[in-house]
């Protein structure tokens, strides 16, 4: 196989690639945060006029809350009543996740294999 000679990238081209990468990194990772799509889907269900009893806290638990400096149950009403609803997801969402993750690895391994064949052919020569 003939040796591949890559084009020399200009300084401007290098800077452009760095900018593209930065935009992709910060954009793709910050966008879900900015759009509120990231983070846990925990929902609070605060109780009215909370007491330690209505928040289902035993005397031992209350002792620990107090030791942490929290003596007013109303101040932790949201924290104590917040819960995930794990069964709320749809099967479609789960399937999308499975397809995206598996599809991603299939894509990467297949494209890698195409590139890898060129590397091996150039390094070790074409197979007889």
């Amino acid at each position: 196989m003939a040796k591949y000679v890559p084009p020399k990238q200009s300084k401007l081209g290098q800077i452009f690639d760095v900018i593209v990468l930065l935009v992709l990194i910060i954009g793709a990772l910050r966008l879900p945060l900015l759009l509120g799509m990231a983070g846990g889907s925990k929902v609070s269900a605060p109780v009215a006029d909370p007491t330690w009893e209505t928040l289902k806290q035993s005397p031992a638990m209350v002792e620990k809350w107090n030791a942490l400096g929290i003596t007013d149950p109303a101040s932790v009403n949201e924290m104590i009543t917040a819960r995930y609803d794990y069964w709320a997801f749809s099967t479609l969402e789960l399937l999308v996740m499975i397809v995206v993750v598996i599809g991603y690895f299939v894509l990467v391994v297949r494209f890698s294999n195409v590139e890898y064949k060129e590397v091996i052919a150039e390094k070790f020569g074409d197979r007889k």
Binding site: P7, G39, A67, Y86, V101, Y104, V108, F111
Partner: protein, 468 residues
């Protein structure tokens, strides 16, 4: 390796990294990055499933990382080069996989670094509140810690890892002293496991909460595989890397179990599940001012050690990609005096700051975990192809992991469970992150790869891989 790097690089890069590190530094690099997982973050698993769920997740994640360490030690003892798993992927799977693995490493570590900086700010705020100074601005502390550690890394690897060795040891000893300080065997112990974990508090979400807790279970150990990043700077890689990594996993298993035991016995799960600095809180609840101060110092040291190691590892991965032209070659330069990948170190500082200054801790941690999870999914693929392309009789390994392919299959199964665990509650973040990797993969394959030499990427003195 120095020869190979010289062959592939322009004149400015003809200075190699220094081989000055021993097994203790490898241990310090691995444990130093990860021990912070005991000081913050792991407890979000309690929030996702309750205290028992977090313990079960801790052990299953321990099994996952044992598989990671076994697999990684075999491949690393053979591919001892800077860039760690990036270089492995390049030789075993192919360039695009290598590019992705390089990015996994950079983002897992850079997000972890950002998480560490957030925790430093939170700790300073907590201590200031306790001293009666409420509402201080955390941002200067976040910026200062990242800038100081980047400067330390810029100056040299030996000083950096000696610093890590000392502060990691102190942070680890603090966890052990806390365990003895709360005296679980004594009738006067403040630990109240039976009372705090009774009834609904035992497993508040049932068994699905145990699966969900696997998400943050990884946080107990995430980053231990970073030991391989120092491969080109270790005096005897084939001996020091497996030894340092295995010793690191054992250390972390002990620290993780002790941490869970003490914290679950001191705090209601609803508080523990969202606490910013749980071990410091445990120190406060121990009733001992000495322990509180010690755990405060431990939290500070563990976050500094972790951020320090993260900068070290992320910059090596970025440097490795620059040296191979996967990224602009400018990043592949070594400092003429300090012999460090200084341009990569500097470049990643603003990326860490963007996330440390503008994102909540659990979400930054999830970004880090997701990049780590993608990397662990790559490892079984990597080792199966490694054994297939180069069976045991074809190249000499420094270490051969037993029971192949069982560890690879167990690792793959645990990764699948963890994807589902992240999906439970953080599904959109998972899709967004994988979407990002798909986009950059297409950018690399159809654009960036044209600037990469082909045969020169293969630098190991190995025979032709079978089947090619």
């Amino acid at each position: 390796m120095a020869k190979a790097s010289q062959a592939a690089a322009p004149a400015v890069e003809k200075i190699s990294l220094l081989r000055v590190l021993g097994p203790a530094h490898v241990w310090a690099l691995g444990v130093g990055i990860v021990l912070v997982g005991e000081y913050m973050g792991w407890n979000f698993g309690v929030g996702k499933g309750g205290a028992y769920a977090a313990l079960i997740a801790c052990w299953f994640a321990g099994l996952l990382y044992t598989c990671v360490a076994m697999i990684d030690s075999e491949v690393t003892s053979t591919v001892a080069a800077a860039g760690g798993q990036f270089t492995q992927a390049k030789h075993i799977v192919g360039p695009l996989m290598a590019f992705n693995v390089g990015l996994y490493l950079v983002f897992a570590y850079t997000m972890l670094e950002a998480g560490n900086a957030i925790t430093i700010g939170f700790l300073v705020d907590t201590v200031a509140n306790m001293a009666g100074h409420s509402g201080i601005d955390q941002r200067p502390f976040i910026i200062l810690s990242i800038m100081f550690l980047a400067w330390l890394n810029y100056r040299g690897v030996l000083a950096t890892l000696n610093f890590n060795l000392v502060i990691t040891a102190i942070a680890f000893i603090a966890v052990i002293l806390l365990f003895f300080g709360v005296a679980p065997w004594s009738a006067d112990s403040p630990l109240k496991h039976a009372d705090l974990m009774a009834g609904d508090a035992a497993l508040p979400y049932g068994w699905i909460g145990v699966v969900a807790a696997m998400h943050f279970g990884l946080w107990y150990y995430l980053g231990i595989e970073g030991t391989t990043q120092a491969a080109e700077e270790v005096r005897s890689p084939a001996r020091a890397l497996p030894f340092g990594t295995m010793a690191g996993i054992i250390t972390l298993l002990i620290a993780a179990t002790l941490t869970w035991y003490v914290c679950a016995g001191l705090m209601p799960w609803e508080y523990l599940g969202q606490a910013g600095v749980p071990l410091f809180d445990a120190g406060r609840l121990s009733g001992s001012t000495t322990l509180m101060v010690l755990l405060g110092i431990g939290t500070l040291f563990s976050t500094l050690a972790s951020a320090n190691g993260c900068i070290n590892d992320a910059s090596r991965a970025w440097f490795g990609m620059g040296r191979d032209h996967y990224l602009p070659a400018w990043f592949g330069a070594v400092h003429p005096k300090f012999r460090t990948p200084y341009r990569s170190i500097i470049f990643l500082v603003p990326v860490a700051l963007v996330f440390a200054l503008g994102a909540p801790l659990d979400q930054v941690i999830t970004f880090s975990i997701l990049s780590g999870l993608l990397e662990y999914t790559f490892m079984p693929i990597n080792v199966i192809l490694f054994r297939k392309k180069w069976p045991l009789d074809t190249i000499k390994r420094g270490y051969v992991h037993p029971f192949h392919p069982l560890p690879a299959l167990v690792l793959l199964a645990l990764c699948a469970v963890t994807y589902f665990a992240v999906f439970l509650g953080y599904g959109t973040q998972l899709i967004a992150m994988v979407g990002f990797y798909i986009v950059v993969s297409l950018w690399f394959h159809f654009w960036r790869y044209r600037f990469v030499k082909r045969g020169d990427q293969f630098t190991m003195p190995w025979p032709r891989p079978r089947g090619y």
